[in-house]
């Protein structure tokens, strides 16, 4: 066993230890009790949270990926600068500010929260789609054209499969971030597990805080894991990056 492996094992098990310690502390203080004593509310909040994430991510997916594909087409190349900067702008506005702005337009509630989350998810998905397609060797496209592939065949058989890793990484980043950010939906009355987190903060009640925050964290980890599995299934064998470690 080499040094690098030993260090990584030590780090890994210390993290596991800390997590176990945290749960021991939280459970022995009955901080998770609300999940069971108010299980109907809990399930409702989880459902709302998932709806927020699902609707906003799907919307972002439908807009960002085709958008990224479109601006990498030759005839739309010139639009890339404008589109990229607009999307970048969406990301630079703090998420709370986006929420506040949306209240003045859409009012309070689910839609406002979904819209803000949607704006927030666009950039990682769009940027990774463009970067993934741009990173494909120019010569491959040249060879494909020279062999008589039609533009749509080049897109479906060459560009998308080879950009799949990058695109899916963008989708994963966006959705995982989205799960965390969705806790802010409470601020605009959008529901979700943020309701318990903010209640906990306002009442100095660790029970509410932890019963809200831990499920959000676990949800993010679980979804990240699922999307990694999906990545492994979708990305073609030969276009995967070399294995780490």
């Amino acid at each position: 066993m080499n040094k690098k492996k030993v260090v990584s094992l030590i780090v890994r098990y210390s993290v596991y230890g800390l997590v176990a310690l945290f749960f021991f502390w939280a459970i022995s203080n009955h901080y998770f009790d609300y999940i069971f004593s108010e299980s109907t509310t809990f399930l409702l909040l989880v459902k709302q949270h998932l709806q927020l994430v699902l609707v906003s991510s799907l919307l972002a997916l439908i807009i960002a990926i085709p958008g990224g594909i479109l601006v990498t087409r030759k005839s739309f190349r010139r639009a890339e600068w404008v589109v990229s900067n607009t999307v970048n702008l969406g990301q630079t506005i703090p998420s709370l500010a986006v929420l506040a702005l949306m209240i003045s337009i859409l009012g309070i509630g689910f839609n406002t929260a979904v819209f803000a989350l949607f704006i927030y998810s666009l950039l990682p998905m769009y940027r990774n789609t463009v970067a993934g397609i741009d990173s494909i060797d120019e010569n491959l496209i040249d060879a494909a054209k020279g062999m008589g592939m039609k533009p749509i065949q080049i897109l479906l058989r060459i560009e998308l499969p080879n950009a799949a890793y990058s695109i899916l990484a963008g989708v994963r980043t966006a959705i995982v971030l989205n799960i965390g950010t969705a806790a802010l939906a409470y601020v605009v009355g959008g529901g979700g597990l943020g309701v318990w987190i903010f209640t906990g903060i306002q009442l100095f009640d660790n029970g509410y805080l932890i019963s809200g925050a831990i499920p959000v964290t676990l949800l993010a980890i679980f979804v990240d894991y699922l999307l990694r599995l999906l990545e492994r299934l979708i990305v073609p064998e030969g276009s995967k990056p070399p294995q780490e470690l």
């Binding site: 010569n139 060879a143 494909a144 020279g146 062999m147 008589g148 592939m149 058989r157 064998e237 030969g238």
Partner: protein
């Protein structure tokens, strides 16, 4: 057959990359486009399968104006090999090789049979390599796959853009030889871009030498070496062009025309060379050893005679320089 008729390429900025080029690539011949970088050789090649538009003049493929043909159908009938091999990393070797047959709608069975036949041609096992991905192969193997991919649908015409340029010299020489063997079998009409004079001399039936988009000379390699048309051609092939021209002739050519010398039994440590080697190699062998002769043997190891520096010189003066090309490529 590919015919260039006053073919011209002018870019939007007014730069002319190819100026009214006229020549014909005959059926089954390899024509090498040669010239310094920026001479328009790659542009000219890419105009054939319309990766570059033709500004003026025509390119005819087997008598048909390439502009009159459907662009996609035209490209599927032309094999295309590029320097960086252009294999698609997301596809297996078999999928890569069978792209054009797949686009043309061949059946699974036909594709499989064709794939195995092509792999056999380059001495690789179809079963072993078919399911692998390009990154699992060596550079030389990848380039061989690139070549058979272009041959997959048996196109009459092939375009090769510095296909062996990225390989190291030893592998390059080997693959060049292999490719000439394959060409003997398949007899394609090939347009081949190179910036390497030795490669051009080795591969070409005829060479097109370009400068600044203009055709300087279109001739067989030996004619071009022995009778350069102008100062540029002379300069381009360099002062050692007489020596370069030796690589076009084998000891067998010399033996048939002026005969070999008797070998001297008294000299014991002379080296032996096969009669099918070219004269350039023979000369460097003669210069490398102290004895004045190298013994020539046939494929069975029988001693046919000896070759000397004098003989090579005589052949060069009286045969190569005096007569128009009577070159047999070995």
């Amino acid at each position: 057959m590919i015919t260039f008729d006053q073919t011209t390429k002018t870019y939007a900025g007014g730069v002319t990359a190819v100026k009214g080029v006229d020549f014909t690539v005959e059926q089954g011949e390899i024509v090498v486009l040669l010239g310094p970088s920026g001479c328009g050789k790659t542009t000219l090649l890419r105009m054939v399968n319309r990766l570059e538009t033709i500004s003026d003049g025509k390119i005819m493929i087997d008598g048909e104006d390439s502009m009159a043909l459907d662009q996609i159908a035209l490209r599927r009938k032309i094999g295309y090999v590029i320097q960086s091999n252009g294999l698609f990393p997301n596809m297996t070797i078999e999928e890569n090789v069978m792209i054009v047959p797949d686009l043309l709608g061949w059946s699974k069975k036909e594709k499989k049979a064709r794939f195995n036949k092509l792999m056999e041609m380059i001495g690789l096992s179809g079963d072993k390599f078919g399911k692998r991905y390009p990154h699992e192969l060596s550079g030389g193997q990848q380039q061989r796959i690139g070549v058979i991919r272009a041959l997959a649908a048996d196109p009459p015409v092939m375009l090769m853009d510095e296909p062996f340029g990225a390989l190291d010299p030893i592998i390059r020489e080997k693959i060049q030889g292999e490719f000439l063997q394959i060409q003997k079998e398949v007899k394609k009409t090939i347009l081949f871009v190179s910036h390497d004079i030795d490669e051009a001399i080795k591969m070409a039936d005829k060479i097109v030498l370009l400068r600044g988009g203009e055709l300087m000379q279109y001739d067989t390699p030996s004619e071009m070496l022995v009778r350069p048309k102008n100062e540029f051609v002379r300069e381009f092939f360099g002062k050692d062009r007489a020596i370069k021209s030796l690589s076009l002739h084998t000891i067998q050519n010399l033996r048939e025309i002026i005969g070999l010398a008797e070998f001297d039994e008294a000299i014991t440590d002379t080296k032996t060379i096969n009669v099918h080697h070219d004269l350039r190699n023979s000369l460097s062998m003669l210069l490398n050893q102290e004895a004045e002769q190298v013994i020539v043997s046939d494929d069975n190891g029988n001693k046919l005679g000896a070759i000397t520096i004098d003989l090579v010189q005589k052949y060069l003066h009286f045969e190569i320089k005096a007569k128009p090309a009577l070159v047999q490529k070995g």
